[in-house]
C-alpha cells in the first residue's frame, strides 16, 4: 500500500469519524431535552423526534463522503489504486470540509434543535418554527458535503 493510499484512507476515516461524533453529540443533546418533555407530556413524542433526527444527518454525510472516497480509490468495488502522496493528500483535503463542518454544525444544530424542543414543549403548534431554525444550520453541512464530493470526483486517479 502506498503512502498516498494511507492519506486517502485517513481522509475517509476522518469524514466518517468527525461528522459521526458531531451527530452523536447533537442527537444526544436533543434526545436529552426531548426526554424531559416526554416525561411530562408523552403525546409530544413524535414532534420532538423530528427535532432529534435533524443533527443526525451530518453523520450520514460523513458516511456518504467516506464511501464515495473509498470507491474512487478502488477500496470498494475495484482494485486499489496506486496513489501518489500528492493524490493521497488531495483526497485527505477533500474529506476535510465535511469532516470539520460536519462535526461543528452537528453540535450547533443539536443546541438549536434542543432549544426548539422547548418551543414544542410550550407551544406545540409552533413546532415547525423550531424545525426551521435548526434546519438553517444544516445548510452549511450541505455546502461542505457538496465541496467534499466535487473535490473527490475531480481528483485525477
Amino acid at each position: 500500500m502506498t503512502n498516498g493510499m494511507v492519506f486517502a484512507l485517513i481522509g475517509a476515516a476522518l469524514a466518517a469519524l468527525m461528522a459521526g461524533i458531531g451527530s452523536a453529540k447533537g442527537v444526544g443533546l436533543v434526545g436529552e431535552a426531548a426526554a424531559g418533555v416526554v416525561s411530562v407530556d408523552p403525546s409530544k413524542f413524535s414532534k420532538v423526534l423530528i427535532l432529534q433526527l435533524l443533527p443526525g444527518t451530518q453523520g450520514l454525510y460523513g458516511l456518504l463522503t467516506a464511501i464515495i472516497l473509498l470507491s474512487r480509490v478502488g477500496i470498494i468495488g475495484g482494485t486499489p489504486a496506486e496513489l501518489t502522496t500528492a493524490q493521497g493528500l488531495a483526497f485527505l483535503a477533500a474529506a476535510c470540509p465535511i469532516a470539520i463542518v460536519g462535526l461543528i454544525s452537528a453540535i450547533f444544530q443539536g443546541k438549536t434543535a434542543a432549544a426548539g424542543v422547548g418551543i414544542t414543549a410550550k407551544k406545540p403548534e409552533h413546532n415547525g418554527k423550531g424545525i426551521i431554525m435548526a434546519a438553517m444550520v444544516e445548510t452549511y453541512a450541505i455546502l461542505a458535503l457538496l465541496i467534499s464530493i466535487l473535490m473527490i470526483y475531480n481528483i485525477a486517479v
Binding site: 426531548a34 426526554a35 443546541k111 432549544a115 422547548g118 410550550k122
Partner: protein
C-alpha cells in the same frame, strides 16, 4: 453551556399547567370554593404533582439534583426555620407547625443541632447566625432582636452565595430580595420609631440601596425616608409604600417575577428552573390570597389589586 437540557425542556412542558391570567380571572369570578377547585382541576388535571412548593422543589431536584445555585432560592426558608426552631426551643414547644417547606435543611436534624448546640453540623452559611441568634435570644429574651439578626443574615448569605456563583440572574435575585426587605424594614423601623442601633442591625444594605444612607433616612423621619427612596432607582416602590402596604408587597413579588420572566427565555442552564420555582411560588401565593379573600367576602377590586404578576 448546554447544562440541564432535559430539565429545562421538562420545565417548559410543565409551564403549560401554570395558571394564566384568564384562569385567574375565572377564579376571581368563581362563586365558591367548589367552583375554584373545579377550575384548578380542569387546568392542572387530577393528581397534579406541582400543587405544593415542596412538590415543585422535589420535581426540580429530580431533574437537577446537583444544582447548587438553586439552593439559594431556599435560603429564606432555611433561616425562617432556624428562627422557628430557636423560638420553639426557648418556649419549650414543638417547632413542626412553624416550619416552612421546602428547605435545604433536614428539619428534625435542625432541632437536634440547636438543642445540642453542635452548630458545626449546620450548612456553613448559617452556622454563625445560629450561634449568635441563640446567644442573643438567651441573653436578652427578645425574640424581635433575634429575628432581625437572622433576617439580616439571610440576605447577607443570599448575596454572598449569589456572588460566589458569579451568575448574573442569581446576583440580581439576591439583590432584589435584599432591596425589598431593606425598604420594608426601613419603613417599619421609621413607623415604629425604632432606635438607630436597632435599625442599623436590621438593615442589610446592598449595592443599590446603601445601608448607611438608608439608616440616615430612617432617622430623619418618614418624609426623609420617602424622599430618599423616591430619588433612588426604586422610586416607584416609595410611591406604593405611601399608598398601601399590600401594594408594596405585590410590587416586591412582581419585580422578582419580572426577573424570572427574562430567565425563562433561556434554553439551557439552571435559570429557567429557578424561574419556574419563582413562578410556582407566585401562583401558590395568588391562590392563597384568592381563597382568603373569598372566605372573607372581599370585593373584586380588592382581590384583583392583590393578584401577583403571572409568568405565563
Amino acid at each position: 453551556m448546554t447544562k440541564y437540557a432535559k430539565a429545562v425542556a421538562a420545565i417548559k412542558a410543565m409551564e403549560n399547567y401554570l395558571l394564566t391570567y384568564s384562569d385567574i380571572e375565572q377564579l376571581i369570578n368563581a362563586s365558591g370554593k367548589a367552583e375554584m377547585e373545579s377550575i384548578i382541576a380542569s387546568k392542572k388535571g387530577n393528581g397534579n404533582e406541582t400543587d405544593t412548593l415542596e412538590n415543585v422543589w422535589s420535581t426540580l431536584m429530580d431533574y437537577a439534583p446537583e444544582c447548587e445555585e438553586l439552593k439559594i432560592l431556599l435560603y429564606k426558608n432555611d433561616f425562617h426555620n432556624l428562627k422557628a426552631a430557636l423560638k420553639s426551643m426557648i418556649a419549650g414547644r414543638e417547632p413542626d407547625n412553624y416550619y416552612i417547606k421546602p428547605s435545604n435543611l433536614n428539619l428534625d436534624e435542625l432541632k437536634d443541632i440547636l438543642s445540642s448546640k453542635d452548630y458545626g453540623r449546620l450548612p456553613e452559611y448559617m452556622r454563625e447566625t445560629a450561634e449568635n441568634a441563640y446567644k442573643l435570644i438567651t441573653k436578652t429574651l427578645d425574640g424581635q432582636l433575634a429575628d432581625s439578626l437572622i433576617d439580616c443574615d439571610t440576605l447577607k448569605a443570599m448575596q454572598k452565595a449569589a456572588e460566589k456563583t458569579g451568575n448574573s440572574f442569581m446576583i440580581r435575585y439576591a439583590l432584589l430580595n435584599t432591596v425589598c426587605a431593606d425598604i420594608k424594614t426601613a419603613y417599619r423601623c421609621c413607623k415604629m420609631k425604632k432606635s438607630v442601633n436597632f435599625t442599623e442591625n436590621a438593615i442589610c444594605g446592598s449595592s443599590e440601596i446603601e445601608k448607611d444612607a438608608l439608616v440616615r433616612a430612617v432617622t430623619g423621619g418618614m418624609e426623609t425616608l420617602i424622599s430618599y427612596l423616591e430619588n433612588s432607582s426604586y422610586g416607584d416602590a416609595a410611591g406604593l409604600l405611601e399608598k398601601s402596604a399590600a401594594q408594596f408587597e405585590k410590587w416586591c413579588d412582581d419585580v422578582i417575577t419580572e426577573l424570572a420572566e427574562q430567565a425563562r427565555m433561556q434554553s439551557f442552564g439552571f435559570e429557567p428552573l429557578a424561574a419556574y420555582y419563582i413562578a410556582a411560588e407566585a401562583e401558590i401565593k395568588n391562590l392563597r390570597i384568592l381563597s382568603i379573600c373569598k372566605e372573607f367576602g372581599a370585593d373584586r377590586e380588592t382581590v384583583t389589586e392583590r393578584m401577583r404578576k403571572l409568568y405565563v
